[in-house]
């Protein structure tokens, strides 16, 4: 089946083109599933924010907007490096492909590291819902805790997607180093790029929803 250069066409496909089409449709379908997966949490968020706007504003003001903004920047940059990695894969620049995959990995790692610090802060300040939840100066503790339930549910699910992406990225870097990807066949890089951008986009929604409620009313951003 090597009539298409180094393209590995699996036996049940008629052509490399069919194989790539299948992968692309499959990935987009998967992302549709992912949208619905996060969608449930977004729904819960909107319902409760509508019901308890004051508590949500108060709780949101307890998040660290500086850290959130930093992480947003980190992720947007990682989307850029990922897009560049796909570009260099498509024109067969192996070294640049590896370089940008590693940069993406580092940025993803930075995001997760910062997130860990943030979670730890929340732990220290008893801001994790449950038996030890405390909210100093919170008027409506039970509903601020509901905000933090959503905060951890949403960012936790997002972070677990980042971790999965991180692991796949490590594998892709090894494969890229071995020269597995060619301009004719770099489907895994392209598909992973779609996934990575999706995870990014989710964060771009999470950041304003969780960190930026009513910042101006409460006397400035920080």
């Amino acid at each position: 089946m090597d009539s298409h250069g180094s393209v590995a066409v699996r036996h049940h496909f008629a052509s490399a083109e069919q194989q790539k089409d299948a992968a692309t449709i499959g990935m987009w379908t998967f992302l549709v599933t992912e949208v619905m997966f996060f969608g449930g949490l977004f729904l819960a968020y909107f319902v409760y924010r509508q019901a308890y706007p004051a508590a949500f504003a108060a709780a949101s003001n307890k998040t660290d907007v500086l850290i959130g903004a930093f992480n947003t920047t980190v992720l947007i940059c990682s989307s850029l490096t990922m897009a560049l990695a796909v570009h260099y894969a498509s024109i067969g620049k192996k070294n640049l492909l590896v370089l940008f995959l590693i940069l993406t990995l580092l940025l993803g790692g930075a995001f997760l590291g910062v997130k860990t610090i943030e979670y730890h802060d929340k732990w220290v300040h008893h801001e994790i819902p449950g038996a030890h939840y405390e909210c100093d100066g919170c008027a409506d503790a039970v509903h601020t805790s509901l905000f933090f339930s959503l905060y951890f549910g949403m960012t936790g699910l997002h972070a677990s997607h980042m971790i999965v992406g991180f692991v796949i990225l490590v594998m892709l870097i090894f494969q890229a180093k071995k020269g597995k990807f060619t301009p004719e066949w770099y489907t895994p890089i392209e598909m992973f790029g779609l996934y990575w951008h999706f995870v990014d986009v989710v964060w771009i929604f999470l950041f304003p929803l969780l960190y930026l409620i009513d910042r101006t009313k409460s006397g400035g951003l920080f």
């Binding site: 308890y52 706007p53 004051a54 008027a139 409506d140 039970v142 509903h143």
Partner: protein, 350 residues
């Protein structure tokens, strides 16, 4: 209640039951017609067109894409659609009757708890797993749960409603037949779910009056609510027309069924749910002009106590009984609040 022999329909003991039964009869007739039609056609075709060696029926290639086929497709889409719209409209109209309690209904409070029903009558009588109601009077149940979701179901009245923790739901009926009827919990609520039932007794006016007279001896719900109000010290901050205005908390006299302006500028109606929320989570919807100094009474007030408090607050607004015609009470005028940033108070107290 004596066990009855085999029946196909439960007793029809409420005004709505008769309507529901007619609707049911219509649905059964439509269903029977279509089920029998399809069954007949299938059996008829299976026999008439059964396979016989060498026999090829005429019109074997009819596949529904001819003009005749299209007509058939349209006919059997549009006719069921038409019938189902009748079903929808009839069902919806009955539902709207069921969902809207008449203004003159007698209110009774129900609290569901794993696994019993606790009932409080306005006049003070209390009962467990039983409900006594007078015949030919509209009854409205205001219900809440202390734990899981329950459902107050009386098949003979053809009505039920879920009973949820943390909020009030209502259900109403007008009993038309004296007798004893099953009360079930219809929403699964754990181990003894099937034992969480009892009996609804529909009594004649006279018997009901006798039954009420045997009441709890603790006074009406509103009176019990006032006792609880004093015991919890609510009056230290909340003026209730008996004590003096002290500016720390909104005046409760006449506040029920008015609209108040909240701190964030939005307006909310003072109903059972709002009063309950204000006791449990005082800061959730703070009235504009007041500091959030009120502590939560979560854990200090039971659901039954809450019902008493609400009834007491309602009793401070004398015209609630005819809610639909009640004009806004003069005490809390939203317009004044917005201008001054403080709630209006009776002039003499300023």
């Amino acid at each position: 209640m004596e066990p009855r022999s085999f029946q196909l329909l439960p007793d029809a003991a409420s005004s709505i039951a008769v309507q529901v039964d007619s609707l049911y009869a219509f649905f059964v007739a439509v269903s029977a017609f279509f089920s029998l039609l399809v069954a007949f056609l299938i059996i008829f075709f299976a026999v008439k067109y059964r396979y016989r060696q060498g026999f090829i029926p005429a019109g074997i290639n009819e596949d529904g894409h001819s003009v005749g086929g299209m007509v058939l497709e349209i006919v059997w889409s549009v006719i069921p659609l038409g019938i189902s719209m009748i079903m929808f409209a009839w069902g919806a109209s009955i539902y709207f009757t069921e969902a809207r309690p008449p203004a003159d209904a007698t209110e009774i409070f129900v609290t569901g708890k794993q696994w019993m029903w606790k009932v409080q009558h306005m006049e003070g009588a209390r009962e467990i797993n039983e409900l006594h109601v007078p015949v030919n009077r509209n009854i409205r149940l205001t219900m809440t749960s202390e734990d899981a979701i329950h459902d107050f179901s009386v098949p003979a009245f053809r009505t039920k409603a879920d009973v949820l923790p943390g909020r009030y739901t209502t259900e109403w009926f007008r009993p038309i037949k004296v007798g004893a009827y099953h009360l079930f919990c219809a929403e699964y609520c754990g181990t003894k779910h099937s034992a969480m039932g009892g009996t609804v007794y529909v009594l004649s006016e006279a018997d009901y009056a006798d039954w009420l007279a045997k009441g709890s001896g603790e006074g009406s719900i509103a009176e019990q609510g006032q006792a609880l109000f004093n015991q919890l010290g609510c009056g230290n901050c909340h003026p209730n027309a008996i004590n003096n205005y002290n500016g720390r908390a909104p005046n409760l006299a006449g506040i029920y069924h008015t609209k108040v302006v909240l701190k964030d500028g939005s307006v909310t109606r003072v109903d059972e749910a709002y009063i309950r929320e204000s006791v449990m989570y005082p800061q959730a919807k703070l009235v504009a002009g007041y500091d959030d100094i009120m502590p939560t009474f979560q854990g200090l007030v039971s659901e039954e106590g809450m019902i008493k408090l609400i009834e007491y607050v309602k009793s401070l607004s004398p015209r609630v009984g005819s809610a639909s015609s009640a004009p806004p009470q003069p005490v809390t005028s939203s317009a004044t609040e917005q201008k001054t940033g403080r709630p209006a108070v009776p002039a003499g107290k300023r």
